[in-house]
């Protein structure tokens, strides 16, 4: 704990003292990795999907995450709401309009822009980025831990699978220790970076909706409100604050969806949903392994697909541990369906509604969203909401939604860090949660005041690089353990 804290402090100070240098180093590293071994990321993430499929429907599908007779801790609806709220950030709200429209207007790979063909491609690409891949990264991150924590009764640490499945000795001990530190590091900075961006998103939203000037004072007010909200939520524990907020969040998402579906081009949206299902599933095998090398558009692949994958991996440690924490008592099959398929179908519908309606506006209505998206994603969302009746109400709803998404990300993040720094306790002390919450708030505040959002971006993503290696190591450990100790007949 002390070492992770020192490292966090050191890196944080570097970022604040010399933001340019730190950003250049972190972004440079990520760029270099994407530029040289981008293929590895796409291949790995697509294999996670295959792996999750095999785990769910293969011989180990009935293995329970917990003793064979254990019961799930949370109701299925709450479980789904919590994992969805934890896994998807405020970005979902913004990109719901922006991403399909963006691909529609500027499709990669030589498809003609702003045509029915590019609309189809846009929906496929959007779902590729937000669908099965994203959720199977989380599922894999989470499953390897949940298995060891609940079935084997081991501590909730990133290093647990590694320690358990490698030969005991100084090498393994060091590897485990390094993994824990790297994971803490990734979570703290990933969370602080995401919070900075989230605060700015809310600020941009307030600017759009109420015309508030984007000042530091406003950022600090938002952060203060956020800090109070997420620390309250985190300190009341999983079953109260986090669960209640996640449920509210889910209701808001569904409410927003309903308004768009009912008052938007209803049949068109449903058609878009059915289209997406088919197009996405049909394109999945090819697009899971498609990089635009021949087209000379690898910059597109890394700017969109790989950036998304890196983001999901960067969030992997904390979302993974969080999902693991709430999944006690579910079978692997149930887990994979709940964590991968249900959220994916939901996000397919989300993009069919917001994206489909936007594309309807582009093809049949007034148009003009695509130019807005090219310049400012935030503006595009609110411009889109203006097309709906009660535009002002919807804008307010969207802002609240973004805010709650932030709170749920922050409280689950705080919870996870506290778990990781208390030797893996499943219900860490409130004082520890408050301490980490304060530390993260201060770090967020410092980045906000430094005014360098590039630092936030660099911090949010940088942790993904070392964590990818740890993740693969965890998976191998997990698979070895399954192979050698589980019969696969459990619970049958």
């Amino acid at each position: 704990m002390l070492i992770s804290f020192a490292l966090v402090l050191g890196f944080g100070i570097w970022g604040l003292v010399s933001p340019e240098q730190m950003t250049a180093a972190a972004v440079g590293a990520v760029n270099f990795v994407l530029g040289s071994v981008g293929w590895l990321y796409l291949a790995l993430c697509s294999s996670f999907l295959l792996l999750a499929g095999w785990l769910a429907f293969g011989r180990y599908g009935r293995v329970r995450l917990g003793p064979d007779d254990s019961e799930p801790e949370f109701s299925t609806a709450s479980w789904l709401a919590m994992l969805f709220a934890g896994g998807m950030g405020a970005g979902l709200v913004f990109w719901g309009v922006a991403e399909p429209v963006s691909h529609f207007a500027h499709p990669p790979g030589g498809t003609a822009a702003s045509t029915p063909a590019s609309a189809r491609l846009a929906m496929v690409l959007t779902n590729l980025h937000w669908g099965l891949h994203a959720w199977s990264i989380y599922a894999v991150c989470s499953l390897v831990l949940a298995y060891f924590i609940f079935r084997r009764g081991m501590p909730g640490l990133v290093s647990t699978p590694i320690r358990a499945a490698l030969p005991a000795g100084p090498g393994t001990r060091f590897l485990g220790f390094a993994s824990d530190v790297a994971a803490t590091f990734a979570v703290v900075f990933g969370l602080a970076g995401s919070l900075v961006m989230g605060v700015l998103q809310v600020r941009a939203g307030l600017g759009e909706a109420l015309g508030l000037a984007p000042t530091n004072a406003l950022s600090m007010a938002i952060l203060a409100l956020l800090a109070v909200a997420f620390m309250l939520s985190a300190s009341t524990g999983l079953s109260k604050g986090i669960q209640i907020l996640s449920n509210i969040n889910m209701l808001l998402v569904i409410g927003l969806l309903l308004v768009v579906v009912v008052f938007g081009p209803t049949a068109y949206i449903m058609e878009a949903f059915v289209n997406s299902l088919g197009d996405y599933l049909a394109a999945l095998p090819a697009y899971s392994f498609r990089m635009l090398s021949y087209e000379g558009q690898m910059d597109w692949t890394s700017g969109w697909t790989l950036t998304y994958l890196i983001w999901w991996i960067a969030w992997g440690p904390f979302v993974g541990i969080f999902i693991a924490r709430i999944s006690r008592g579910r079978t692997i099959r149930e887990f994979c369906i709940g964590v991968i398929i249900v959220p994916t179908v939901f996000s397919l519908f989300w993009f069919a509604a917001l994206g489909g309606a936007s594309i309807w506006i582009e093809l049949n209505g007034g148009g003009g969203l695509s130019e807005l998206v090219a310049e400012d994603t935030a503006t595009a969302l609110f411009a889109f909401l203006d097309y709906m009746p009660f535009g002002a109400v919807l804008t307010g709803l969207a802002l609240i939604l973004i805010f709650i998404f932030l709170v749920t990300s922050a409280d689950s993040g705080t919870f996870v860090i506290s778990m990781m720094t208390s030797e893996g306790q499943l219900n860490p002390r409130t004082s520890l949660k408050l301490a980490w919450g304060t530390a993260i708030t201060l770090l967020t505040l410092a980045i906000l005041l430094s005014g360098s959002v590039e630092v936030a971006k660099a911090m949010a993503i940088f942790g993904a690089i070392p964590f990818t290696l740890i993740l693969v190591l965890q998976i191998v450990s997990f698979l070895r353990t399954l192979r050698d100790t589980e019969t696969g007949a459990a619970g049958r």
Binding site: V27, L34, L40, M154, I254, T307, G366, T377, V472
Partner: protein, 637 residues
């Protein structure tokens, strides 16, 4: 699987969907079309807004197509309504000339009834075809009426929009046959580019142009209408043309649209056209506001500023020119939903650079900086996204002081502006720093005053050929356009690639009897190029681009290509200017040759090694670990 909390909501959603589907099923929305030019778009938008206000669902097909296509489409139900002109209807259906005399709404109603169409009450103005000429042409050739054209033995050159040229009954050639004048050359401009006709006239490219009575520029630019003395053209009164079955399905439509009857006079229509074509406003806002002013729509007191304002920066002088209007028209065509503001600033290139304006009408000279040693440096932080036109150097002096040798003070625009830049470059190149002093002034008016008051011996402006402001300056005040002789011999001025030698032919300007040698620079639409290029995309779950970069992103290449097409310029951007790659997609990009990059090789080797190690690790047996059999906590360090 999906929990109890969701299912009641899902059922509710399904019910709502079914309900909506049921009540919308029998009645299709009304498709409202229009022709491609501004007036039609405004009228069609008004019809759409009033229909929506009356609770009629509307799909806009604005613009739809020319009136031949629109008339065909409305008969088969491809569109349900559009604004049409009665004279055009008679001409389109091809009735004899006598039928078109004294058209009344009653006659028109009878004409369209057999087609299953209804002719509503006219809006209240006439938009006739008009033959327009320059005043100086009319004076020189003694032309007042269209008949007078027939007396010109050499014939006339004409600019006409494509639709008008093709109309067999009341079009260009029918007109020439009726009046018996000779067309030596007919150039065509797109029907939605109303400015092009005036541009062609002002630049003396043609003698005569066919324009609309409601064009905002008619009467300006020294351009006026010839009298149709034989009464060739019928009247062209617009009114909503609508399918009869649609009126039956939505009886409230007739009431909604009859509110417009007789409400729009020609002055109002010209004003509305001017706000869109000249002022760069969005036709949808203009239509809505006009309806609110007429009291046909409830005023919206909390009318929010439309999202996504777009600014085009132009030089103050540009107010009077046609290049900015052309540029603004192209931007509006490509980005129809954006509210475009045309703003005059001293140095448009700076406004683009700072992000203050998304686009700027920028001279080629703005892409270059000349350092102290005279070395030319090309800037790359802005790029051309389309060629708009050429601007010429005009040097103007009082008639009593036309010898450049005696000049000491030259009035130019504000510091950093095109005229200031070029004057500085020319003077320094010719080694005249000690002799000639530059007087920078705020704008063209201040420049003129300086010349009139004797504060300056001459003024230098950069403007398109035939610029109205210069016309006035030379015509009314009898100032003279001067050949400064900067281009004589192997002028060192010509080593700057953005300055091209050109001639202003004799007679372009009042009192100009000789051709004049001068310099030209291209005027292009420019937009910003962010220099910090980050390989990592700005996508991602937590990322919102606009929040981080308040400055606009680089213009997408395909948007640049669409702007280029919308500008309809026949010439390409000068090759010395940095241009958006979207303008020349056929140019193959420079590809790096294969070279060994040790870092990349090492990363790939490591990646493969790591994967191999992981596979091997998987293939070995699990070590004996007591924790895995005892199911108890392991030791932690």
């Amino acid at each position: 699987m999906s929990g109890s909390r969701k299912s009641p909501l899902a059922v509710l959603a399904l019910c709502a969907v079914c309900l909506l589907g049921a009540c919308g099923g029998g009645r299709e929305p009304v498709r409202i079309g229009s022709q491609a030019f501004t007036e039609q778009k405004i009228l069609a938008e008004m019809m759409a807004l009033l229909a929506e206000d009356a609770g009629v669902p509307v799909i806009r097909a604005i613009p739809y197509g020319d009136n031949r296509r629109s008339l065909a489409a409305i008969q088969v139900g491809e569109i349900d309504a559009y604004p049409e002109y009665d004279g055009s209807l008679f001409a389109l259906i091809g009735l004899p000339a006598t039928a078109t005399r004294g058209i009344t709404p009653e006659k028109t109603r009878k004409l369209v009834e057999p087609l299953g169409l209804r002719w509503m009450q006219p809006f209240g103005f006439e938009n006739d075809f008009v033959l327009a000429v320059r005043r100086d042409f009319a004076l020189q050739r003694d032309v007042r009426t269209i008949s007078d054209l027939a007396s010109l033995p050499e014939g006339v050159s004409v600019a006409a929009d494509s639709g008008f040229r093709a109309r067999p009954v009341d079009g260009l050639y029918a007109l020439a046959r009726r009046y018996g004048f000779e067309i030596t050359d007919a150039s065509v401009f797109p029907v939605d580019d109303r400015m092009a006709a005036y541009e062609a006239l002002a630049s003396r490219a043609v003698d005569v142009a066919t324009v609309f009575r409601t064009d905002p520029w008619l009467g300006g630019y020294g351009i006026f209408a010839l009298e149709d003395d034989l009464g060739f053209f019928p009247v062209y009164q617009p009114a909503p043309l609508v399918r009869a079955d649609v009126l039956e399905a939505y009886p409230q439509l007739a009431d909604a649209w009859s509110g417009l009857a007789g409400k729009i006079d020609i002055e109002r229509m010209q004003l509305l056209n001017a706000r869109v074509d000249g002022g760069g406003e969005d036709y949808r806002n203009v239509a809505r506001q006009a309806l609110e002013e007429l009291g046909l729509l409830p005023a919206q007191p909390t009318q929010e500023e439309p999202k996504g304002e777009l600014t085009l920066a132009v030089t103050p002088l540009s107010d009077l020119g046609y290049l900015p209007i052309r540029a603004a028209a192209a931007l509006r065509e490509v980005m129809p939903a954006r509210r475009l503001t045309v703003r005059a600033v001293a140095v448009p290139a700076e406004a683009v650079r700072s992000g203050e304006a998304r686009f700027g009408l920028v001279g080629a000279e703005d892409f270059f900086r000349v350092d102290e040693t005279g070395r030319l440096e090309r800037v790359t932080d802005i790029e051309a996204v389309g060629m708009v036109g050429n601007r010429l150097l005009h040097v103007i002096a009082r008639p009593d002081n036309v010898d450049p040798a005696g000049w000491e003070r030259l009035a130019v625009g504000p510091e950093g502006s095109g005229s200031w830049n070029i004057a500085k470059i020319v003077i320094e190149t010719l080694g005249l720093e000690d002799k000639i002093e530059l007087i920078s002034t705020a704008d063209f008016n201040a420049q003129r005053e300086a010349l009139d008051d004797g504060d300056a011996d001459a003024l230098l402006v950069i403007a398109e050929r035939g610029h109205a402001g210069i016309m006035r300056l030379l015509g009314d005040l009898e100032h003279r356009l001067v050949d400064t002789g900067v281009l004589e011999g192997d002028s060192p001025v010509l080593r700057y690639p953005f300055l091209r030698p050109v001639v202003i032919p004799a007679g372009v300007y009042p009192g100009q009897s000789e051709p004049i040698d001068t310099l030209a620079t291209q005027a292009v639409l420019a937009s910003r190029v962010p220099l910090d290029d980050d390989g990592l995309g700005e996508s991602g779950p937590g990322f919102v681009p606009g929040v981080f970069t308040r400055l606009p992103q680089r213009l997408p290449f395909d948007t640049a290509a669409r702007i280029r097409d919308a500008l309809r310029s026949t010439e390409a951007v000068d090759p010395t200017l940095p241009a958006s790659p979207g303008l020349y997609p056929e140019t193959p990009p420079v590809r790096p040759r294969i070279s060994v990059r040790p870092g990349v090789v090492a990363m790939n080797v490591l990646a493969v090694a790591f994967l191999t190690a992981m596979v091997m690790l998987y293939l070995t047996a699990l070590p004996k670990n007591p924790a895995l059999t005892m199911s108890s906590a392991v030791d932690d360090d």
